[in-house]
Symmetry: C2
Subunit: 203 residues, 2 copies
DNA sequence: CCTACCGATCGGTAGG
DNA sequence: CCTACCGATCGGTAGG
């Protein structure tokens, strides 16, 4: 017999509640109630409330990094790679709004060790965007004033998708992914006149 | 005699603590301790913990809207207006990181009426960006696929500044404001080739 | 998977 | 501005 309450269902329920009410405002009793059991019964399946948050946040970053590596493995020049990376980034944030939303709001709710793990994964994720931007700049296909600021802007605008995107809204996931990739490419493309004097590349 | 503990000092302390630990994780005793008094003594100055959060969040949106109106009052064409708006947006988020950070993380900690007020102010703030983008598109100075998605992207990348900016970091406020305004203009400028066929304007 | 319960926390009030 | 305290909440454990 399959159990009705298993790890997966607990994770699904906790994700929904963390997204809706916040980690601290969600009680083990709330999570249990969503599954038809009492709070203490959850401890037969999970070691702590914190472990539920850790799973969401580490899992989210690993999913993002996996998607990013997949896309980078396809090769192509910097514009092609950046386009694919942004599309994957946006698609994830539109399709997994709650994971991304919780991941961005609840960093401070993680214990120190796990917060550090998440921050490291995030830094890796961002630096991959920056690397492609630097590569495009070096090859002359991009013209950027600051690869770091460009990658921050691109990553952050994608993160925002998790906040405002609605599956039943006017824009489809495809539409947002396409438009955002286009916006990102415009930001760094070399065939835009630089407004102002060319400046040395900062970090 | 001036009181050592007044509304302003309570607000400063609560802002710092809300930013560092989160609203729910901050106790009235914590705020009092930061001012050298006990938790219950705060109730001689403020009606509730919630009122401290409300003040921060409404005040932040009003500051942003005031700065935005100031800039729009200067006139100019759409590119000039958008540049000034983005610069003001970024400057605020770099100079008031904690206000912006708390404002973006603790929306769910507001009671319903105040959350609605903040959301309305935010919608007004975003729509001003969109209006300038639409004006630029209509006049032919911009070429955008979706004014709404463009304004979301521009607003969200600026919000991100409050998260990663460090006053003692490599980039100065001026530098970030300038670069981000440039990125925003590149996103919508008409003298960029549209990649792909021109599509009808969506919202 | 449950009830009973521990130990700790916290916003706010009473009454100086 | 303080101490004492109320009423309520909550993560987790004990012991079925």
């Amino acid at each position: 017999m399959r159990e009705l309450v298993d790890q997966a269902s607990i994770r699904t329920a906790s994700l929904a509640l963390f997204a809706e009410r916040g980690y601290r405002a969600t009680t083990m009793a709330d999570i249990g109630a969503a599954l038809g059991i009492r709070g203490p019964s959850l401890y037969k399946h999970v070691p702590s409330k914190q472990s539920l948050l850790v799973h969401i946040m580490i899992g989210t970053m690993e999913d993002l990094l996996r998607a990013q590596r997949l896309v980078l493995g396809l090769g192509g020049d910097a514009p092609t790679q950046l386009r694919r990376m942004v599309e994957a980034h946006v698609r994830y944030h539109a399709a997994h709004r709650r994971e991304a939303f919780v991941g961005n709001r609840e960093i401070g709710s993680l214990d120190r060790a796990n917060r550090q793990r998440v921050l490291t994964l995030r830094a890796d994720y961002e630096s991959a965007f920056r690397a492609v931007i630097e590569e495009g700049h070096a090859s002359g296909l991009f013209d950027v004033r600051s690869p770091r600021l460009s990658s921050y802007a691109i990553v952050d605008m994608g993160i925002g998708v998790a906040v405002w995107f609605r599956p039943d809204g006017e824009q489809s996931v495809d539409e947002v992914a396409y438009v955002y990739a286009d916006l990102a490419l415009r930001m760094v493309a070399a065939d835009v006149q630089a407004s102002g004097a060319a400046a040395p590349l900062s970090t």
